[in-house]
């Protein structure tokens, strides 16, 4: 009678529930895992960059290794970083092949979880957020989730477009809100948050929430707990605002930002917007204000235009349905952001290694090309993960059955010291990574 329910889903739900615990408790779950090596070692940082709608169908490729690696034209901007590069072909999410195009291919990109349709919003906690929760209170901010295109508030073919705009999920039911404003992202990292009275207000509000919690239904309580946990998180961070740095054990190379706060408001130009966001990610890592950043350069189903490239006659999404030179130009523009970020990080020395050596920059999309095909996903990794990744290689999983993208995520979590038995549809990491 109940056999049409699915064990996989229940398993994921089980995981999701534990993820939905207040971060403090979550941190305890993984608290015994040393985050990124010993206290004096620079930690391993993760940045996940996303570009929607895939890439040019013939120009996403790499072959050879090390300095001799050859790159397709989409990846050309990464040429200077070939030796830091890991080009991975053939990985995919089985769940993302179900459901709708675009949104159902994106909302679970970093979790591999099944997506709920209709009135429900449910994915899985994404691996970047698991790392953020495991790093816990080591940094001022657990993670930074940035975007350069505003989320789309609609439902498309019965799937919320939330899925199309959020790859980072702090719980299975909570897409992490994106910060679009560079200045506000900067403030979140560097503004002294402790203002007189904040603590009192939050205390009181928690008290109110406790009251309210008793009056509402069980289902509503789960929703309210998102709020309670968030308030508690803010409060804890306020408490620690004055003592920041003491818990870290590791002294970052930069104590304060060495660039001015970006101007208020949204940048007029998408190139400026992306550049500012990349700068903030680098700055965040350099100051160890956070160790996990997710940067969604655009939405899947993106409506960005690129007048600065001379491509303003068609929005990104529609452009992706072609293989034109303009589409290639736009692809390269996105990859340039990764190259720029890698270049900046390579120039920052952290002891023996560079910041790039200590980081993992994951660059991916939810489909291979604009034709919505996702049986193989484009994945590129830059950085050596604290020396734990042998880069400068091309890995090809395309002929294999166990080519779950979640295996890569298990690998990357492993580099940060977070070891899970399973994640998404994978139970073991990629041996080669």
């Amino acid at each position: 009678m109940t056999s049409y329910r699915f064990s996989r889903r229940q398993m994921l739900r089980g995981l999701g529930v534990s993820m939905a615990l207040p971060w403090l408790e979550s941190a305890r779950v993984w608290g015994d895992v040393a985050a990124g090596g010993s206290g004096s070692e620079p930690p391993v940082r993760l940045a996940a960059l996303f570009a929607g709608n895939g890439f040019h169908s013939r120009e996403w490729w790499a072959q050879g290794s090390g300095a001799a690696m050859e790159l397709g034209r989409v990846l050309a901007p990464l040429a200077p970083h070939r030796e830091q590069l890991l080009f991975i072909r053939g990985l995919f999410h089985a769940e993302a092949q179900k459901g709708n195009i675009h949104s159902s291919q994106t909302g679970n990109l970093l979790s591999g979880a099944p997506l709920a349709s209709g009135g429900e919003i449910r994915s899985g906690t994404s691996f970047d957020q698991l790392i953020a929760q495991s790093y816990g209170r080591s940094t001022k901010v657990a993670s930074l989730v940035l975007g350069c295109e505003s989320a789309n508030p609609s439902v498309h073919k019965n799937y919320s477009m939330l899925y199309s705009s959020h790859i980072s999920w702090s719980s299975p039911t909570t897409p992490t809100p994106l910060e679009l404003y560079p200045a506000l992202a900067f403030d979140r990292l560097f503004k002294d948050e402790a203002r007189h009275g904040d603590q009192s207000v939050l205390d009181a509000v928690l008290e109110d929430a406790g009251d309210l919690r008793r009056r509402i239904s069980a289902g509503d309580r789960r929703k309210l707990d998102e709020y309670l946990d968030s308030v508690r998180d803010v409060e804890q961070r306020l408490e620690r605002a004055g003592t920041s740095g003491e818990l870290q054990g590791w002294r970052p190379t930069l104590a304060e930002p060495d660039v001015p706060r970006p101007p208020d408001g949204l940048p007029q130009n998408i190139a400026d917007h992306m550049r500012l966001m990349c700068d903030i990610v680098v700055l965040a890592f350099q100051t160890d204000a956070t160790r996990v950043c997710t940067l969604k350069l655009n939405n899947d189903h993106s409506s960005l235009r690129f007048p600065h490239l001379g491509v303003d006659y068609m929005i990104h999404h529609l452009l992706s349905h072609s293989d034109t030179d303009d589409w290639l130009k736009v692809n390269q523009f996105f990859v340039e952001q990764l190259a720029y970020m890698a270049g900046k990080m390579a120039a920052i020395q952290e002891g023996e290694r560079t910041l790039l050596d200590n980081s993992m920059l994951l660059f991916c999309s939810s489909m291979m090309t604009g034709g919505h095909n996702n049986d193989e996903l484009p994945v590129v990794l830059v950085g050596r993960g604290g020396g734990r990744i042998a880069s400068g290689r091309v890995l090809d999983y395309s002929p294999r059955a166990d080519r779950q993208l979640c295996r890569l995520f298990l690998s990357l979590m492993d580099k940060t010291g977070l070891r899970l038995n399973s994640f998404g549809d994978a139970t073991r990491p990629l041996d080669e990574v």
């Binding site: 889903r9 179900k98 508030p153 979140r188 998102e226 968030s230």
Partner: protein, 1432 residues
Amino acid sequence: MVVPVPRPRLLRAVPRAAVRGVVPRAGRIVSALLGAAFAALVPAWSRGAEEPSPLEELEAVFVGEIKPLLSRCCVACHGPEHAEADIDLEAFATAADVRRAAKLWQQIERIVASRQMPPPEAEQLSAEQRQRLLAWIRAVLLSEAAKQAGDPGPVVLRRLNNAQYRYTIQDLTGVTSLDPVREFPADGAAGEGFTNVGNALGMSPALVSKYLEAARQTAAHAVLLPDGFRFSPATTRRDWTNEALARVRAFYGRYCRESDRRTLEARGADPELESGRSLPWEEYFAALLETRAERAAGRTDRALLARQRGLSAKYLTALEAALETAPSDPPAPPFDALRARWRTAEPADAAALVRDVTTWHGALWKLNPVGHIGRARGPKSWLEPVDPLTDRQNFAAPLRAKPGEAEIVLYLSATDAGDGGQDDRVIWERPRLVAPGRPEVLLRDLRQTATRMAQLRRQLAEQAEACLAAAHEAYAATNPPDVAELAARRGVDPIVLRSWLAFLGIGPAAADAAASDLLTQPRTSVGGHDFVAAWTGDDNLSVVANASDQPVRIPGELRPHGVCVHPAPTRAAGVGWRSPLAARVRIEGRVQRAHPECGDDVAWAVELRRGGARLRLVAGVAKRAEPVSFGPLAAIDVRPGDAIALVVAPRDGDHACGLTAVDLTIATADGPTWDLAAELSGDLLAGNPHADHAGRPGVWQMFSEPTSGWSGDAIPPDSLLARWQASGEAGERAALAAELQRLLREGAGGLAAEAPDAVLVRQLLSLGGPLLSAAMAESAAQPGGDADRPSTWGLSPDAFGVCADGTPIDPASLCVEAPAVVEVRLPAELVDGYALATSATLAPGAAQGSVQASASTVPPSGAGLQPGAPILVLPEGVARRRWEAGLSAMRRLFPPALCYGRIVPIDEVVTLTLFYREDERLRELVLDDAETAELNRLWDELLYVAREPLELATAFAQITEFATQDRPDLVVEFADLRAPIAHRAAAFRQRLVDDEPRQLAALADFAKRAFRRPLTVEEADRLTAFCRRLREEGTAHEEAFGLTLTRVLAAPDFLYRAEEPGAGAEAAPVGNHALATRLSYFLWSSAPDDELRAAADAGRLAADDALRAQTRRMLADPKVRRLATEFACQWLHLVDFDRTDEKSERHFPSFAALRGPMYEETIRFFTDLFQNDGSVLDILGADYAFLNEELAAHYAIPGVQGPEWRRVDQVRAFGRGGILTHASALAKQSGASRTSPILRGTWISETLLGEPTPRPPKNVPPLAETAPEGLTERQLTERHATDPACQKCHQRIDPFGFALEGYDAIGRSRREDAAGLPIDSATTLPDGTRLAGWDDLRRYLLTTGREAFLHQFNRKLLGFALGREVALSDEPLLVEMRTALEANDFAASAAVEKIVLSRQFREIRGREAPADAEVAAFESAAAHEPSEELRR
């Protein structure tokens, strides 16, 4: 095309027959079926329990027919083995199992119906089998829907979304400019595609921080008031104060108008009156005049009349009473005159009556500087009554000769003041000629004096040469001359010669040359600096010196070792150097304002003073901070006793901050040099006069002198006399003297008026000139004169000293009977520069008399009453009492201003008045008690918000500090104010503390509105306790209050719409407040307003009628615009269209400016639809549009001018009407540079008709990289759809889009596409319908598509209202909505009311209700919208 659909119960009868013929044709339009489907469904539900249950039948069909079918065609993939898409159909053993998984089976039904299943490779269903299967599933679903109908459904706790948060904050605060969510992340949509679904509204630490910040920002707008608080658009006290000020001013503006500046200035009134507000008398007079007849007949309601005309009933009544009272007897001028005029006035006379009234203002009132009120000896009020009644009126008529006229005529006029001539006996007392510093001449004696002066002038002219020769001799002599001897020797009149010598500075000085008035009061430690000293006089007059090496501010700046002078309002201040020797000197120096940031400019002059003569050497004005250097003036000959004076005077009689630095050096060629600053700054107080550096006593003098004689007399430069003075050579001097004498004798008529010699001649011959004034002083005592030349000037001496009735009066006075004008001719040469001074009084005993007198060179204008002029009466006379009565009525009823509208005085630089209130007259004449109370409250708020008592205390301290340096006199004056000001500040501080509980109570009340429910006592206490705890920790009240407010706005009860479920599993009605909140967020996206909350408080909302009434009221409210935006625009994917950035700027440069108007059109369209209860079908078929000029131009619709929005009818002729042709929709569903028939078609199909299209395949082949040349946009699209995998769907979708090809990518009508190719908008739908273009499409959607469209509208509206996905259990309600629309001409309110009155809207699932069993059941399989296919 309508295809009959079997009623479910037919299934058991003859299913085969019934289903025959319903095989759907390929590409049929789903909507075509819906009407029939509804017809079939309604009886199914309405049958209720009395019908036999079809369940057994369904069960039988399942086992016997359906299950085998599934096993054959489906289970291979969807069985226990594979369970593709996680669907195992074997698991369904009974029909009951199917019913429990209704949602999954909705899905299955859809996929089978759309022939996506079974897949081509599987065994196919026959058409009949397919139909059998579908009919059975529908029947099961129908029975399930009926069973669950009205289920409130699963509604997860909803956070306010960004729009709701913004609207709620705006409504709670009343501040529409607040937008605290501007930089919030976008909300997610779920359910039916709206952002009000709890599931999609997440929370995160980053968002909590944003909410906290938003709450803080909102709290910063709270302004504490005595009895609570309010919100302001601003966050600074300065702005709050200005708002409070504006409120008071707006109150003043209700009945009064700002005084008309022009009339006031025309009357010569103080422009300050401009700041006052007076009544619009003309409107009052007109109101009374126009209704005179009705009022006489007692037919007028004054209150109504006043209301109609926006006038004060109170004043209208008072005015009427005063005017219609019979004139008093004896008459009380001038009010009785007004009454008299009133009696015969016509409506057109209102303006003239007003003039009669306002002419009196100047005589009855005077304006005082508000800045002076409150000071000791200061005025008591701004507008002060003046009594024009007097027993004596003084005159001083200035006498100024006109060029070329020999006489000046003066008129002494007395009128009867308009009340008859009884007792009007006037005495002109001692009329006389006066000039400053000169002896006066009685008018009585003028004839005689004129004769004598004529003689002297003749002598002057004839003896000039001789006198100057004598002067030359005396000049050369070493000893002072013996004037009598010299005169005798030269044969000249000694008086004349003495005048000459004095004028030329020869001979013994008549008086001390420099020191008119030495300053005598020393002051040390000026400004607290022991190195600053001063000599001072009255009125701030001073000479100040800085003995130190450092500059110092007192508050004007004193340079190191510098000397400054400070003049008084009517006195100049100066420093003089009195020559101790005879020498030729060189003079230079500098003048500079020392306090330029305050006050006005000063006038200055350097003069050589010798005897009675002042030779002005140089003069000017020092402006701002610019230093003015003068000199060097070389070759000035001085003699012992001569003085060089540097004088500084207030310019134009202003004196504030007139501190002026002065430098003066006087040097001899090879002898000593004097330096004013150097010699005085060190030991200023050593004496006055002060010795020079060599100890010569009395060289320096600090003095003051009146500014009245400021002009002074100087020998005109370059004149004959100046040249004579400069020469010194006897021969040359003699020639010059001869020439001068000739001029004096013959007159300077041949010269230009301003030629130096012409000026000189006038000066020498003037009665007030230096020669004759001195001579007149000597000769005044000498009667006689030249009997040969009798004068006809002035009046006969016989006219003086006696009245007509013989009563003796002062011998120098005149007596006349009014009305009378005495004309006096005066010799211009003689009297120029003098004034005629006299006083007018009534003769003793003239008790009934009242006159108006004037003494002027202007002929009197007429007889009768001169409004505004003083009236002479005897102090105790009967006349006085009569006049007093009339004038006081005038004053009481017609004050020139009712209130001081400026409130903040600006008439003084230094003032202790921050806000000045003077509105007693307004309160007395106009306001009723309630209005007065309101005004008092506004004033109290103003002073409270401005913290006036505290500000005043601060200002007082500052002013005192300032004054100790600059205005020591004020310090004394202020001394008495210190205690009251301090006391008031202390009382205010206490008041602030006392008000805290009231403010907290108001905060609790605010929390009730913010939480949208009553607060428990504990909750209210907790708020108070929170604030108190912060206070105890040392937080100031205002901040603690702000934090408490922040807490309310950050609380989950505010951010979330929490609802309390009932116990048990059953659904139950939500409480009144929750219902009010649901309703309010449905229709207004905001918290309930006062009225809705009151209904909830009273527990009335549960009743259908009350709910319906509230719904209607709320739909009619302008706030329903938010329903248009949040529901309609979100449904149509147009929300935030004004921010869309998807158009190519290169192709559509005008788009950025137009997207706002485009969005506005759509919002206004739907706002109108809901607010005016339009037909839902108008969404497609309206023949009207909402346009402004900009958008109309975009649409090429003529005749729409101006930026304002309006409804324009009959737009179909221009290819517009309904959402299909809104530029917003057309542009949104287009590409960046060209149209997209696919997007438009999909939008019509999915969004408007609710017909989902299957998902596009996952491996869409990419488009060719370059399209062949010469294809239209349409052909490009058609080419795209040639792929067989795509064709099936595109055949359904694209034709809709093709029909709209007549509109370009930003919604303009067009005949050619971007490439210049002709547009083809003709198309054929899959059902064979041919459409020629948009109008056919519109018609098609309104007929064939009508049911689908209405169903979609209802479904979306319901989904929005409930904040969740529409479920199977909602199907009956959708049917009811459809029926209600039909029955009400499709009025939108019919659908809204059905929702509001439904169970799902009014109930909540029970606490113990099981979670939806099937939520998890099929989600992986879900690829298309489920559920509405039920009716297919």
